[in-house]
Symmetry: C2
Subunit: 338 residues, 2 copies
Amino acid sequence: MRGAVIHAPGDIRFETLDDPKILKPTDAIIRTAVTCVCGSDLWPYRGAEPTDAAHPMGHEYVGFVEEVGSEVTSVKPGQFVVGSFATSDNTCANCRNGFQSSCLNREFMSTCQADHVRIPNAQGTLVATDDIPDERFWPGLLAVSDVLGTGWWAAEAAQVKPGSTAVVVGDGAVGLCAVIAAKELGAERIIAMSRHESRRKLALEFGATDIVAERGDEGVARIKDLTGGIGADSVLECVGTAESMRQALHSARPGGNVGFVGVPHEVAIDGQELFFSQAGLHGGPAPVRRYLPDLIDLVLSGRIDPGKVFDLTLPLDQVAEGYQAMDERRAIKALLRP
Amino acid sequence: MRGAVIHAPGDIRFETLDDPKILKPTDAIIRTAVTCVCGSDLWPYRGAEPTDAAHPMGHEYVGFVEEVGSEVTSVKPGQFVVGSFATSDNTCANCRNGFQSSCLNREFMSTCQADHVRIPNAQGTLVATDDIPDERFWPGLLAVSDVLGTGWWAAEAAQVKPGSTAVVVGDGAVGLCAVIAAKELGAERIIAMSRHESRRKLALEFGATDIVAERGDEGVARIKDLTGGIGADSVLECVGTAESMRQALHSARPGGNVGFVGVPHEVAIDGQELFFSQAGLHGGPAPVRRYLPDLIDLVLSGRIDPGKVFDLTLPLDQVAEGYQAMDERRAIKALLRP
């Protein structure tokens, strides 16, 4: 098979690799329908996370089941399946609590920018669609497997409620999907923080009611202006830098909540500052598996189209260009077709 | 009038001071029924907070209204009233959201270890009882005005639900009151972390089902043992040190919640650690005013008796001994009678 391998920051190669095999009776092998490049893939690409040795990349996928291990009965060869970047057995205590992304047997996916992928914990991780969906739905279902699920968790963790005001920090694919989630959960006012024309446009299309271009203290001041001086009920932090986290915390009202889903990089939160802000803070890897059935339905029913975050489509063998386009912010998110 | 003044760490004096006066039409003057020493008073007493100039002390009080400003209509002279350490107008946007401790006109109380006290924002802050309560209820009502309200907020912020498992970190008066709150909110299992015999006994009397004496990593390991390996649904952090906060965060299960009410001192929370713990975190000064009507009823009906946290009663003029006894952990909490 062939897939993407990172050798060093900025150095993504498309290479021939060993075909994936069933290693455990709980595994499945899928043939990738579509995959993509994630904003979080840019951390090692930009050298913000170390690359000690060359390794495959990618954790987003939808595809066709080719083979299943002896203990996998929930999906079968030929079916179209959607999964999550965090695999889960869906039976352990954390899974039963709805936090499958902290499954006691969790394995994070990391080899999905390839034409074939081994899925650990396949029984608990994969959800098959009733029929093979029309190709026009594939990008939306691919978004479900990570960026929409993550935006949804941001909205849930920020306790978005009907009639509330939500601020979305970050205009990447996750932030844009967080706008969809905030709208679906009933937010009356959705303020998207963005200064990029194409992203602002998509945020408005997804349901944002206001756009704030300012950042940092100026951005916070604008949010306060728009929220009667006290801040927003819910803030969805979809970046993960110290600046974005500070902006998010300062944008929430006392008693409001910040959902943070950007993996924090060099972020330290001062306990006393958090205390006196009286804002709640909840984040982590999104429990996508819990949301899959509902989000798949929302996409296949045509109610939402998170697939619009893919504004660049490339053949899988041009994966390196996908990284570069996203790194240079020429693309929001690059879809890859094997 | 006479009241307590701190001159330097360890130096509390009972002095003659100017009688309090109505300064604003929203003020009231009360004659103190009972007051007390708070765990947070020990921060400056121990030098962990600076004392640049001598100043009065105390923020907990119940008493009799003596005089009200021209805009105060909700209480009248002669009534017995309960308030909060954070005064609030009870009309601003934050108050309407139920976060009166972040009232836009908030003034923190700081002169209550005295026989008379000026209460700013009296209209929004003070709640009068229907009749003058029997003296045996005064300690309980005094606890309502701070430590019980704060423990209640810890339980609410930690999202204690019927049937859930709650851990209480801290066996001071707030921690012990947090046990009461967790029980009233329906926790099925309440694990109190304590190594002091008298406090453990009171925790059990208040509703704790388990006691854990270990601290730090050992304490966390014991909590994991008691919670099927994953941690507790809710953790109520009632101390405010870096160690207690770390212990609290590590004791919560993925998707669980930490309510933190000990004012954090030199606490920095690592963003990535919080992210992967998947625990929620919410704290701040307790919105006691929101709880007052219900908590007063719980005390006067005899359903709960948070007044038991006072295991030392002194005449007000011996306030310095109250500080010393609490500092040396000879007393959980010292009640002062003018």
